[in-house]
Symmetry: C2
Subunit: 213 residues, 2 copies
């Protein structure tokens, strides 16, 4: 008797969302976490001090710089980066165990983190890049409430362009001219990628059941 | 000024649906053609005689066996097969022109045709395999109205199993235990594949617009 086809075991995937700041990545990521019961963020390792209300092992895994450096040396990270004086890393063991159990992980990272993940676990990675609908709209979103200097805004525009220049290192590109439409597209990509034959590990047993004489 | 992001040029794709007979492929294919304005069947070349009501160049391109054999020799087909005494082929030039113009083509073919298409235009091909929900359900669907002999039914089951044995040569596998749910899944796969960066040829110009200083 084959398994119930609706509950076939599958391998999880690593869903990467990248975009320049101002293209809606944070909103889309938050909605995915709210609406999709099967996707989660991995818990990062960090050297930054714990803030009031944070829980070690839930918000972050808090470690000393020495420990972090040793973890880098022992290749315990899928990707890591140094940001504003602190180190952040994605622990390999946690994600690999989750993938085996069929959990999906959401990564809201830039092109450099994406390249690191892709080099480590290529077949588990789905890379989605969000683009702003136009340069004028991007400038409008990065200008904020008009309290920032022209220099600050120019710096943001430059960083946004630098990120956009890596759009061709992604599997999918979605232009975000409407947040609801963009979210629906991102959901379609995630749904389709879950149906990839290579991720549906339970199919082997299911097909064996169909083939029985 | 970049283009309107909703009308970016893209390259079409070849959407292949395969399944054993009795797994719903014909129903899914018909619904796709009815509901999706961007996908079409290619017009096949055939050596079988024209039937009353058929239009040459619309239903099929009708040719003599000599012409067909010459076309095979000149490698004018993406795939071809000999079925029940007649030859059928998919003309390469027609599909390649359509893909360039952004049209998608639906192929309702078996694993052998799928292999031929994949060898010719690998990056344009999306291969979807439909499976029946259980062996009992497959037998029920292949038994029909109970007017066929046990031998005929056994032959059908054997052919179905032979087709199923090629499930692992596909990009996506969908278990069809409910025709509406199955159709929704097939639509999600098609929508996602259209968003693949490599097919969105218009993005190059669009991003160039975003990058202008």
């Amino acid at each position: 008797m084959p398994d119930d086809p609706d509950t076939l075991q599958r391998r999880g995937l690593m869903f990467i969302l990248s975009s320049p700041s101002g293209a809606g990545k944070t909103t889309i990521a938050r909605r995915l976490l709210e609406h999709d019961g099967e996707i989660r963020m991995s818990v990062s390792v960090t050297t930054r001090p714990m803030r009031p209300g944070e829980v070690d092992g839930k918000d972050y895994i808090f470690v000393s710089q020495d420990t972090f450096d040793r973890m880098v040396e022992e290749e315990q990270f899928l990707e890591w980066a140094h940001v504003f004086g602190h180190s952040y890393g994605t622990p390999k063991a946690q994600v690999k165990a989750g993938l085996r159990e069929g959990h999906d992980f959401l990564f809201d990272i830039d092109w450099q983190g994406t390249q690191q993940l892709y080099q480590k676990l290529e077949t588990d990675v789905v890379r989605v890049f969000l683009l702003p609908p136009s340069i004028d709209e991007l400038r409008r979103r990065l200008t904020g409430r008009g309290t920032d200097s022209a220099d600050v805004i120019a710096g943001r525009m430059e960083r946004a362009r630098a990120e956009i220049s890596h759009w061709d290192g992604y599997d999918y590109v979605v232009v975000n001219d409407d947040i609801d439409a963009c979210f629906a597209k991102v959901e379609q990509i995630l749904a389709a990628e879950r149906m990839r034959r290579a991720r549906q590990t339970g199919l082997i047993g299911f097909v064996r059941g169909l083939m029985k004489p």
